[in-house]
Symmetry: C2
Subunit: 433 residues, 2 copies
């Protein structure tokens, strides 16, 4: 048995205990975890310094170093994020439905944790407290695999969290574990017997690699090819404002707009002005033949542009003949992440929200709203473009599933067969609130 098998097995044993801890006990442990990071801020910062030094010696890219570096303020934000998880509603033990099957026999559908979560992420040491606290609150055991560049920071933070939670009697020993090497990360992907969900965070290529190399369900998104569509019924001032925000507010985000579709009837009215504003903001524009005709300084797009996530100050623009063409284009070229219509015709907007099959569909608001915090989920474990389990921004609810609890009084199934078979009542009962 590899080291990771042992870790996964231990996580699974701890998950069985975590599943039925009380909310109060979980919140006490989370508070201890927050306090521990607060009290040992200096230890965290000095561990982080080692990572930064290592990164500088290795000439690691500036952007990565920015995400890697911690400050007093960032540690305070970590502490605050754990305390905000304390404040979240416990997603475990919610009764989703109660059905009377017959006299004295009732089945309840009750939420419960998934079991063991494998979380794999790059740089950013703040992922450690965030993912740990969300998994813990939802009663899941977690195995963390961070990037090598953040190893000292991650190790210190995880150590503090684990020591703190273990001080609360009843918390199982292996609720949070960390693995370190790339080889261990790969081994983790093989533990489908004990690990029930993989949550990867990182680049498209990174997430895609994980999706292609495990039988464990993966909650994540590899690409965010998000569209805006300016309908002929759009309010053009609103449209321009929202499109600029969708592209510019944070171009590297997965919910930033990559392709803009414009209805042919208003292209001449809106595109020259909008393109000028994008140009002013240093956005490189490529477009279809029609677009280049309407805005001469847009370069022609190649066929591959329509499927690209630039994650950068670049935008592709296409003029479409009709609303239906826009919907069809998005369903074909989008990645099912987030797509938006700008329209004042309410019926058309509603059709867009129905017919575009993406996880988040929006009318007259920036694609950048597609985010767990902004949606009011309280915290986000990730954004999913899966079609099963959890979709779009995923909060605590995505870390639970349900079980059926049946309470009988000696009933047998054979009584419901043959002559004089009993009949089920199947009466929905109101769950206690």
């Amino acid at each position: 048995m590899t080291n990771v098998s042992e870790i996964a097995k231990n996580a699974n044993a701890s998950a069985l205990v975590l599943a039925h801890l009380s909310t109060d006990l979980k919140n006490r442990a989370l508070t201890m975890m927050a306090n521990a990071l607060e009290e040992h801020r200096d230890a965290i910062l000095s561990a982080n310094k080692k990572d930064l030094q290592f990164a500088e010696n290795k000439n690691i890219a500036k952007a990565l170093i920015d995400r890697l570096g911690l400050s007093e303020e960032k540690v305070r934000a970590m502490v605050k994020s754990i305390r905000s998880v304390v404040a979240l509603d416990d997603p475990v033990g919610k009764i989703k439905s109660v059905t009377e099957l017959d006299k004295d026999i009732v089945v309840e559908q009750v939420t419960c944790p998934i079991g063991v979560i494998g979380a794999i992420f790059e740089s950013r040491p703040d992922a450690v407290p965030q993912i740990s606290s969300l998994c813990f609150k939802s009663g899941n055991a977690v195995i963390l695999k961070g990037g090598r560049e953040a190893q000292h920071s991650n190790k210190m933070i995880a150590k503090l969290l684990v020591e703190a939670m273990r001080k609360v009697p009843g918390v199982p020993k292996f609720a949070v574990q960390m693995i370190e090497t790339r080889a261990e990360g790969i081994d983790m992907l093989k533990e489908e017997q004990y690990i029930h969900l993989i949550v990867p965070r990182g680049s498209s290529a990174f997430v895609k690699y994980i999706q292609e190399n495990t039988k464990i369900p993966v909650l994540g998104h590899s690409e965010g090819v998000c569209h805006g569509y300016i309908d002929k019924s759009a309010d053009l001032d609103k449209a321009i404002r929202v499109c600029l925000d969708s592209k510019l507010q944070y171009p590297a985000a997965c919910n930033a707009m990559e392709t803009l579709l414009v209805h042919k009837d208003i292209a001449k009215k809106v595109l020259p002005d909008l393109a000028a504003k994008f140009k002013k903001a240093q956005v490189e524009l490529v477009g279809c033949v029609e677009t280049c005709r309407v805005v001469p300084d847009v370069s022609p797009a190649c066929e591959s542009d329509w499927d690209l996530e630039y994650n950068d100050l670049k935008l592709s623009i296409k003029i479409v003949d009709s609303f239906s063409d826009a919907v069809e284009f998005i369903n074909k070229h989008g990645s099912g992440h987030t797509d938006m219509i700008l329209a004042e015709d309410r019926e058309r907007a509603d059709r867009f929200l129905d017919e575009v099959s993406s996880a988040s569909v929006m009318c007259n608001a920036s694609t950048r709203f597609a985010d767990g915090f902004r949606y009011g989920l309280g915290a986000e474990i990730g954004i999913s473009t899966n079609r099963t389990h959890a979709r779009g921004p995923v909060g605590l609810e995505g870390l639970v599933i349900y079980k059926y609890k049946l309470h009988g009084n000696g009933q047998i199934v054979d009584d419901y067969f043959g002559d004089n078979a009993r009949e089920f009542t199947h009466k929905p009962l109101t769950p206690p609130t």
Copy 2:
């Protein structure tokens, strides 16, 4: 592009249309489908005759032939099952939550179909109308792959269903498609771009093969190693009755009991009588050393017995020292399908339902109740031992996911950043009922 890629692509295009068909339109098409099978009963029966002839010539096992054979009554049952799907609540378009993010900007979480379902099943031609109608009602396109032994029946039924639904204007052309060869079935498992969920029905080995050979999520269960545990607080008359039903009511079912655990304090009181009743019903009994001591004509179990799904008139029995030992044993050896406690001590029963991590956990009722129809789900697409998406008996709700629909009025995310940042209200609104 293989034939199956084309089929999957067509299914996906049709799924985009199916996703927003009205309930009324779907119900009209389902009614046409039911009528078509009713009207063409003879054609179905004569196609079935060809399959039976082929099976006899090939010396196919009697049990398989039993499941393969159709009768007037079985066709009536098919028709009835489609009509019962008409009566089910439409699972699409249910508003799960509505949140005001700020003035004039609201996000709704609304149920929607998954997309394209690949259904793979063995013999039983009645799977064709059942799976087709459930997928259609939930707005999913489906690709059916039946067993070769039922090919004439399946083809005739599918043809009738497809012709009938296409008579209703608005129903897309490729809502239900069928593939036939084993090679096509294998090709289907590779279409993760267009197929979003595989639903396999068949033997453990069959389901396991599928789980191991696709990147598409699989909704199913390979094994049902279900336990009963007779606690020392059990009412022994009830316990005996329920245990007999759990094993005998349909021994080949996945929810039949395979292992019985008995608390040591009542083993001598209950086991001799219970074992005699099992023996009388031709059940082969194997047991732990203690069990063999208490009931001398029980044979010793081997270590592997505790992990076996017999699917037959065989039961393994183990005497345990404590409630906790029983829970631990079940979490270790069970397959997470269905497990049951017999106990009058309510607190202990509740602990069992909390601590055993299976999809269905039961107190004082036969494991055989774990079934979509008996749970009141209306219909069952399958039973899942997955830890994500859908668990236990899965009805129409397991064939939908949700999307976020955001309605704004020109809002941008940048207004919520920096000095004078706007604050989110995150006010839960009541969904319209």
